[in-house]
């Protein structure tokens, strides 16, 4: 009962942040001389107007879901995983390497690709976890460094082993058998980028929620996150849980990398840290670190990202407005602490309103009798 109350409160708070972000966007549009209603119309139309665009919104959201889950999961153990980008890169690299090397039937190949991406990401996450547990190196520092190590690893390995026929700066295109895109899904969404990744994402959201709420593992991880001293005194292996939490977070981001590089895209570019890795922080924030919250927040961001191009094409509003909206939402989500502090007052206000309303209603009932 208490749990539900908190969930509802978090949901309202996130909704509040979204609404404030949209209002800020509207003001910006207005100030720059555009019609906000028109702007929002095209923004949302761009993400939803036909089945292909819906597919694209979902496909854009997919890596965000994983990146957000990764951040949220680590955060439950009190760890701040900034390494989503690097973990995605390594996951994508493992997936691409497997996809380009083996010539197996699709179901087997995809399974191996998924496992490889998870292992790669997990190792990339576990290392900072280990450094934290062993030498008390702050995970923020370690994960940022791991991002750059991943960046340069890809930078050298892709041209060496996975080079495409024309360009030095990207890998070969992965064959159809190694892609998360499947023809029935592509044609169902009239040629969009959507791929099996979205189903994977839903499955992993459910798995993460299950781990956190129902398992002893989730209980331990959260205990360590909330109060490390008490967890230790109760005999919970704090260091073990730190490493484990980072490994799982890395695996999730690694999977996100697979859905990006062998799902959404079909090859790897070198010299780019995937921005989704960082957007995951925003997604987790807006989703209040709950798996299904992350899911909803990622879908919303996916929608905005897909729609902004269309808005730009149809109006004079620059696509940066959509980014500003996202940034503002993040800002408000981050300051939700402030909102939370005033939550009681807000509630009281609502209560007073409701009281007055019910009084009025009863008055009306008295005077009007049966209508």
């Amino acid at each position: 009962m208490k749990k539900k109350l908190i969930v509802k409160k978090n949901f309202l708070m996130s909704l509040f942040a979204v609404i404030l972000g949209l209002i800020a966007g509207a003001i910006l549009m207005f100030v720059t001389g555009s019609n906000p209603i028109e702007g929002f119309y095209y923004l949302f139309r761009g993400g939803l107007m036909n089945i292909e665009r819906i597919g694209n919104s979902l496909a854009t959201a997919t890596p965000l879901i994983f990146a957000g889950l990764s951040v949220a999961f680590a955060f439950k153990t009190g760890l701040f995983n900034i390494g989503g980008a690097g973990q995605m890169l390594i996951g994508g690299l493992c997936a691409t390497a497997v996809g380009l090397t083996f010539d197996w039937p699709k179901p087997i190949l995809l399974t191996v690709i998924i496992i490889a991406a998870m292992i790669g990401g997990a190792l990339w996450g576990a290392l900072p976890g280990l450094l934290k547990a062993r030498f008390n190196v702050h995970e923020v520092v370690a994960t940022i460094m791991m991002n750059w190590i991943a960046y340069w690893t890809v930078f050298y390995l892709v041209p060496l082993y996975l080079k495409g026929p024309f360009l030095e700066t990207e890998s070969q295109r992965i064959p159809m058998a190694a892609s998360l895109k499947v023809s029935w899904l592509t044609s169902l969404f009239s040629g969009s980028y959507i791929n099996l990744g979205i189903f994977l994402a839903i499955i992993f959201v459910a798995i993460t929620a299950f781990i956190l709420e129902r398992t002893t593992l989730g209980y331990e991880l959260k205990a360590v996150g909330y109060n490390r001293d008490a967890a230790e005194a109760a005999g919970i292996g704090v260091n073990r849980n730190i490493v484990l939490s980072m490994a799982v977070a890395g695996a999730l981001a690694g999977l996100g990398g697979a859905t990006f590089y062998v799902g959404f895209a079909s090859n790897m570019q070198i010299g780019v840290l995937p921005s989704q890795g960082f957007d995951g922080i925003a997604v987790a924030l807006l989703g209040a670190n709950s798996p299904w919250g992350v899911f909803a927040a990622a879908l919303f961001f996916g929608l905005l990202h897909t729609g902004k191009g269309f808005m730009n094409a149809m109006t004079a509003i620059p696509p940066e407005i959509a980014d500003t909206i996202i940034a503002t939402i993040i800002y408000f989500a981050a300051t939700s602490v402030l909102i939370e502090r005033n939550w009681d007052k807000l509630n009281k206000f609502r209560l007073a309103l409701r009281l007055r309303k019910s009084k009025q209603e009863s008055l009306e009932d008295d005077s009007g009798g049966e209508q």
Partner: protein, 507 residues
């Protein structure tokens, strides 16, 4: 209307509980008014309302006859109300002066004038006999000193009405005596004090009047001069409280814990433990007496596995456990009631039911193959809550944070008794509990002993040690300075040894 504070018809409810149920509360100018009530009665809530931390659902507050609306603690400060919370709110790497002027500094001048503030603080400190060094860092001073800093913080803000929420729960007996002296000085200077405490003796010693509340309702207000500890206790609990324990003779059996020549490094200026040896037998309670900071924390930390040992052995059930993990030690049948309930005892963001399985969630039937069995966890929590009278608005599902201080303690004690441990290490087990709850916990400790289990009781309260223990070990400067039979000693002898005086029969 000669009341400085008058709270009328104050009502405050939380989900599932009415913490203050139309409370009327009046304080006269210049008195020490004690607020007494069971754990969870609503004392802290009522005072948090007076200090502007909570808004009442209904009711009004009058100060010096004038109606006021205390919307936040700043308003309370302006109205001359100060509060020392049970958990201090000081910034640890700031100096005393910096902490005291924190929040006031920008309104005075553009530049922060710490020097004149420091001088003023020194003057205040002298005037009230607080003995505080304005330039010391908070992290370097004792708990008692931190409390005096909190008092100075109020005085610096010209507070006239001073609220103390369980100030003595964290103090050593010596510090309690000093605090009482300080309180008398404050009264002499014309201040008014509201004191929350569970220690009836303190009320009798220092308070003028006392208001007793039970389940959020006022039972009555009495003149302390016209009452006794027994009467106060009865008012508060609603039945007679037995101050006498029914202590049967002990039948100690084989030794379960043997500490051999144990040395542990001290932390944060503490002296550590030196060559300490002690045995605890099944069927007895061994009390560890000593002035705070003489090695108790190091000893307990080493036994449960939180602290590394330098040398020596910890033998539990005929086995050296000094290299075992904390969990392995727990599973040999050792339980521990920690000194600091917020740091080591509870996960405040977890619900009560989650906290009650903190040490055994991974065992059947709390979980099965890694899956938590929530139904069982819930039933288990209901059982402990009932046995130990843990009061919470939402029962098993209330978050530990929302519990009153005493009820948090009861939840921990309940959890540690729950596994029926062979060895219970109880550090200040009754800290912050009301007399009724203390009576119950003491009874359970003796029952434990009579069932042939062992208890190591660490307490700063000499009375508690003398009442419960069969043997008393005295620790001073990290060393065992005496081991005596409880029946053959008294307060004076133990007190002497605690100060490093006489050396008793060491066994």
């Amino acid at each position: 209307m000669d009341y400085v504070v008058e709270m009328r018809n104050i009502r405050k409810s939380f989900p599932g509980i009415i913490a203050c149920d139309n409370i009327d509360f009046q304080v006269k100018k210049g008195e020490i008014h004690a607020l007494l009530g069971e754990n969870g009665a609503g004392k802290s809530t009522l005072m948090n309302i007076l200090f502007g931390l909570y808004q009442p659902d209904a009711g009004s507050i009058y100060l010096r006859g004038k109606k006021v609306n205390i919307v936040n603690p700043n308003v309370a400060n302006e109205l001359g109300i100060g509060m020392v919370h049970q958990h201090f709110k000081l910034v640890h790497n700031f100096t005393v002066t910096e902490n005291i002027i924190l929040g006031l500094e920008p309104t005075r001048a553009l530049m922060i004038d710490t020097r004149s503030a420091s001088a003023q603080i020194k003057e205040l400190s002298q005037k009230y006999g607080l003995n505080v060094d304005p330039d010391a860092k908070i992290s370097d001073v004792s708990v008692g000193m931190q409390q005096r800093v909190e008092i100075l913080k109020m005085l610096y803000r010209d507070a006239e009405i001073l609220i103390f929420d369980e100030p003595t729960a964290v103090l050593t007996p010596q510090e309690v005596r000093e605090l009482m002296k300080i309180m008398r000085n404050l009264i002499d200077e014309g201040k008014t004090i509201i004191l929350i405490t569970h220690k009836l003796r303190e009320i009798m010693a220092i308070a003028d009047r006392s208001t007793v509340i039970r389940w959020g309702k006022v039972v009555g207000t009495v003149n302390v001069a016209d009452t006794t500890e027994e009467k106060l206790a009865e008012m508060m609990v609603g039945r007679k409280v037995l101050f006498e324990l029914n202590k049967k003779e002990a039948h100690p059996k084989e030794e379960i814990l043997r500490i051999e020549k144990l040395s542990v490094a001290g932390s944060g200026g503490a002296k550590g433990l030196k060559n300490f040896s002690l045995g605890v037998r099944c069927g007895e309670i061994v009390g560890l007496a000593g002035v705070d900071g003489n090695g108790q924390a190091e000893l307990v930390g080493a036994i449960i596995g939180l602290r590394k040992i330098l040398s020596g052995k910890i033998i539990l059930h005929d086995r050296d456990v000094s290299t075992l993990s904390i969990r392995e030690r727990i599973s040999t049948g050792m339980a521990h009631i920690p000194e600091d309930r917020h740091k080591h005892g509870l996960i405040l963001d977890y619900s009560v039911q989650e906290n009650l399985v903190l040490k055994n969630y991974y065992l059947e039937p709390f979980s099965h193959k890694g899956l938590l069995n929530w139904d069982y966890i819930y039933d288990h929590a209901e059982r402990v809550i009932k046995d130990f009278d843990v009061r919470a608005g939402e029962g098993a599902e209330a978050s530990a944070r929302s519990l009153s201080g005493g009820n948090q303690q009861k939840a921990i004690v309940g959890r540690e008794f729950d596994g029926n441990p062979d060895l219970l290490i109880a550090v200040q087990p009754t800290r912050g509990l009301d007399v009724g709850a203390i009576e119950y916990i003491h009874k359970r400790l003796l029952e434990q002993r009579d069932q042939g289990k062992a208890v190591l009781l660490v307490s700063l309260e000499l009375d508690e040690i003398l009442d419960l223990s069969d043997r008393i070990a005295v620790i001073f400067n990290g060393e065992l300075v005496g081991l005596v039979n409880a029946a053959e000693t008294d307060e004076n002898e133990i007190g002497l040894m605690m100060a490093g005086g006489k050396r008793g029969a060491t066994a």
